[in-house]
Symmetry: C2
Subunit: 298 residues, 2 copies
């Protein structure tokens, strides 16, 4: 279909995700001085759903209620094992770290788990980009007050803290912007987080964006009863092996040893806007055995 796409369709694209409204779609030919204004920037469909819809608000409230209820149950019935996989664990040998008598904690990703990054997402959309590293870094430093708590998160964290469980953030925001990151969480009403104590950042160890090392550091002090994020890397790094195709990655989460953990200590919140979940070819997203065409006209 693309080979037939018309300039008018390209103009419409200006309202989509990655194309600035004016530059790339403007025809090379001169236009009249009174040319129509470019169409307004529009949110991407995923942004409309996640940040704009009643349905996504509800999905978040449901999830946060479930997370809080689960942690309350664990606080009332202390487990022997953490929900953090032990080093070297696999689907075939899914060992978890022991808890001993350590105090309980719940560990959360920040972006699109505790907060919705509205300010920077709108700014990047207006720029006609999907992501811009320089803009994102500025956001980590200066975005406090322009990100909002995800619906249900403030009440959920209050319930978790009231149950005597420490709330800890393990995020791939940078150690370099620690002050801005803590300010962003505080301004969203989520509490005061202390770097190295209740706030763990990319750069805190040599693990890069992998979070296993930070989970192990947290586990030296705490028994972790819940891991919550919008991406599998918030649960365990093994899900992010680069060799995994989207179908293989999905199949790995359905392994019985792992599958019984979802909603039962491991929690994933919907984020169709960005991240490793937005991937896959037609063949990977639509399995061959579901191939269908409408019947012909006769």
């Amino acid at each position: 279909m693309k080979r037939y796409i018309l300039p008018s369709a390209l103009v419409l694209l200006a309202a989509c995700q990655t194309v600035p409204p004016a530059a790339p779609v403007a025809p090379a030919a001169p236009v009249a001085a009174e040319a129509a204004e470019p169409p307004p920037v529009q949110p991407a469909p995923g942004q409309q759903w996640l940040y704009g819809s009643a349905e996504a608000r509800i999905a978040m409230v449901q999830d946060w209620n479930a997370i809080a209820a689960f942690v309350e149950t664990r606080a009332a019935n202390r487990p022997n094992a953490s929900v953090v996989l032990a080093p070297g664990a696999t689907a075939e040998a899914a060992d978890f770290l022991p808890c001993g008598d350590k105090p309980l904690a719940a560990v959360f990703d920040a972006d699109e788990t505790l907060i919705w990054n509205l300010g920077v997402t709108a700014a990047t959309q207006r720029m006609g980009k999907a992501f811009d590293l320089e803009t994102w870094t500025a956001w980590e430093r200066t975005g406090a007050g322009k990100a909002v708590a995800i619906p249900g998160a403030v009440d959920g964290l209050a319930r978790i803290r009231a149950a005597g469980v420490e709330v800890i953030v393990n995020t791939n925001r940078s150690r370099e912007t620690a002050a801005g990151n803590a300010a962003t969480l505080r301004a969203a009403g989520l509490g005061d987080f202390v770097h190295g104590s209740t706030l763990f950042l990319r750069g805190d160890d040599g693990g890069g964006s992998g979070k296993d090392g930070r989970r192990e550091t947290i586990s030296q002090t705490y028994c972790v009863v819940a891991l919550v994020g919008d991406q599998l890397g918030d649960i365990a790094d093994l899900f992010n092996a680069r060799t995994l195709t989207p179908p293989a990655r999905k199949a790995m989460t359905a392994n019985p040893a792992f599958d019984q953990m979802w909603g039962n200590g491991w929690f994933i919140l919907a984020n169709p806007v960005y991240g490793p979940s937005i991937a896959g070819s037609m063949d990977e997203v639509f399995p061959a055995d579901t191939y269908w065409e409408p019947p012909g006209p006769n």
Copy 2:
């Protein structure tokens, strides 16, 4: 869903979904006869997330476990009131239908609630369209076996039936294609549904795509303990008033009388692919008080 999307928006969506980011910036100038082949069709980002990602599979499993657990609890502790709003109910007077001694039922939407419509979604994507009514109608007739049960749904329905609760489908698939719709649900492993008894379709009454009338019909026989869908119209038609902007629609779901129902008899599953949740301008999706720009270079 269709009535919420303007034709212009459909064109826009089609362009958004089918043209990879690189395409619009390619020069329009003619190229040599041996021009490169058109880029392959790609799934839209929302399709990649929902149908392709591990994260969405997990979100569905979590939701379905929560739905089944909730219904089991209700079956063990019979409620006095249904979760179907009484005629004329509002946020200020959120009355529910009485249950009497009627048998219990859970009521589900079909599309993107019980089944993922993989066959037709891929076919429509290959056509370069967001939606095509003729193709969709053919899908209702002939798609059996090419839609799949949503992860967690087969197990969830088994638990609900084992608890003695009837499973009923209330869908906007057409009465005209009743046989194909029942065959599609059966082929997906979800059970045998009987039109007029456990399967209710658009056209069964004069309510068009509104589902309140069908919910009242079901409630003449059953005490409904759960309503489950991917859109607010699966819960109550009042959420679909055409005068509601996306922010007003969202705010309505947060009214205390309604907010306590989410995850507690009313359940919404994520669907960022289509429907009334995919709407809203920049100002509607990104509230003014979250406006942010990166600081200037100096």
